[in-house]
């Protein structure tokens, strides 16, 4: 239980994941790894592509903020199972668990039973991320970065960068704020994981006193390159699973578009915000920002 309180950043999840991935993925050959892992990649993409803004206002003069973003990603039921590809003689008459799913299905056929690893049985996952922004002349630079972290004998690296530009500054007397933003994040664990995400969005907000209502539409993508060793079982009914070998897989997340709606409250130099992101996996984002 106490480990739960060590969950501070998405990186820790990735670090833990990189330890466990060998055991989680070791029973999947190339033909089924995508179905099993794609929902996790989508979650990673959803997390990394969240929390990019809490207002469409970008200061024309100098601005600076330090933020802490907390997200909760909801895993829909249809991403907890997938239909695997099975060897001849076997029928996938029921789906099996994805990474987020519960029990793995058991299939029977002319060479006996075959099955896969269980999922971790979760309906959601928290993500946390620190970020800083600096703005000048209606353009804001966002930086997400953590120093290299040792994960066993591997190194974990993470950085993210975003650029946001005010559009409303070019439209006189417009009663709302408009902005566009691009985001890029990169996460890697030496020789095991290389993940990246990209997002571009359009933002709108309206401020009334301390309160700001905001929303946006975002196009995004995420990609996950993974290297692991298949634990071969000479007795497996699936010929693809009989020999141990290294597998390199490139998996794209299912995240493409999201709609964002939220509100923020500014109290002196502190801004609290919460928004809901409707996407392949919906995300609830909350944040505290210290800004001036």
């Amino acid at each position: 239980m106490k480990k739960c309180f060590y969950v501070l950043f998405v990186l820790l999840l990735a670090a833990k994941f990189s330890f466990a991935q060998q055991d989680q993925f070791a029973s999947f050959a190339e033909n089924n790894i995508n179905g099993f892992a794609q929902p996790f990649v989508t979650s990673l993409g959803e997390g990394l592509n969240s929390g990019g803004f809490y207002t469409a206002y970008v200061p024309k003069t100098f601005g600076f903020s330090i933020s802490f973003r907390a997200m909760y990603i909801f895993i829909p039921n249809d991403q907890k199972t997938f239909t695997p590809t099975l060897p001849p003689g076997y029928t996938a008459d029921e789906p099996t668990a994805t990474f987020w799913g519960n029990k793995a299905a058991i299939y029977t056929g002319p060479n006996g039973y075959m099955s896969f690893v269980n999922g971790i049985d979760k309906s959601g996952t928290p993500f946390y991320m620190p970020q800083i922004t600096g703005s000048l002349m209606g353009t804001e630079l966002l930086i997400r970065y953590l120093p290299q972290i040792k994960v066993g004998d591997k190194n974990l690296n993470f950085f993210g960068v975003g650029l946001r530009h005010s559009i409303s500054q070019y439209i006189p007397l417009i009663p709302i704020d408009l902005a566009v933003q691009v985001l890029y994040n990169k996460l890697s664990v030496t020789d095991i994981i290389s993940a990246s995400s990209f997002a571009i969005n359009g933002e709108v907000s309206k401020t009334l006193g301390m309160l700001t209502a905001y929303g946006g539409i975002q196009y995004e993508s995420s990609k996950f390159d993974l290297t692991y060793t298949l634990n071969g079982d000479p007795n497996s009914p699936d010929p693809l699973l009989r020999q141990s070998r290294e597998i390199k897989a490139s998996i794209n997340g299912k995240d493409n578009f999201r709609f964002i709606v939220g509100a923020s409250l500014k109290l002196v130099v502190l801004v609290f915000n919460v928004d809901y992101n409707m996407s392949s996996q919906s995300v609830l984002t909350g944040g505290i920002s210290f800004e001036f």
Partner: protein, 181 residues
């Protein structure tokens, strides 16, 4: 007023953070997977009944071997009978299956009835195990050093178009194994 608001919002933020912070990292501390095991039986005779006994050894599975030192629990989930080859194909008989623990104590016995083994080459015959039968096996497996069984297949009341007959069959089982990482 603003101080009160700031404190309230901060408290709410921390509360939400802790509430939402499920033990997701703990999920990576273990892995649960299904371990399929197959044991082949060779039956050849010219009598009206015959049987074969074999050792079912969980450690024959490479998956079991990989995690042997880290197993937290292992439980029987399903079992089935499968025919690998039969000669003559018209052979039929009353087939029964007995599973004993390594000390010879019976865990369960199962009568499959009068069957024609040739019918179960492509589609195995699922054992309809009762909760009590599975519980007997799992109770034995709860001591993790218990990883071997004695299994016997018997055929009686054989009906065949040939005097000499051969049956090669297998009993498959799936065990759910939870291992610490």
């Amino acid at each position: 007023m603003k101080n009160y608001l700031i404190k309230s919002m901060l408290a709410m933020f921390v509360f939400t953070l802790v509430s939402f912070n499920g033990c997701i990292l703990d999920s990576f501390n273990s892995v649960t997977q299904n371990v399929p095991i197959s044991q082949t039986f060779y039956l050849s005779s010219n009598q009206t009944s015959f049987s074969d006994s074999q050792t079912v050894d969980l450690s024959s599975s490479s998956v079991y071997q990989n995690y042997q030192e880290k197993i937290e629990s292992i439980q029987l989930v399903r079992a089935e009978y499968r025919t690998i080859s039969v000669n003559p194909s018209s052979l039929s008989g009353n087939i029964s299956f007995v599973l004993n623990d390594w000390n010879g104590n019976k865990l369960f016995s199962l009568g499959l009835g009068q069957i024609t083994p040739a019918n179960y080459q492509k589609t195995p015959l699922e054992f309809q195990l009762t909760g009590a039968q599975i519980a007997m096996v799992n109770n034995y497996l709860s001591k993790l050093s218990n990883n071997k069984f004695q299994a016997t297949i018997s055929i009686t009341n054989i009906k065949s178009s040939s005097v000499n007959y051969t049956l090669i069959g297998a009993v498959d089982a799936v065990f759910e194994m939870k291992s610490n990482l």
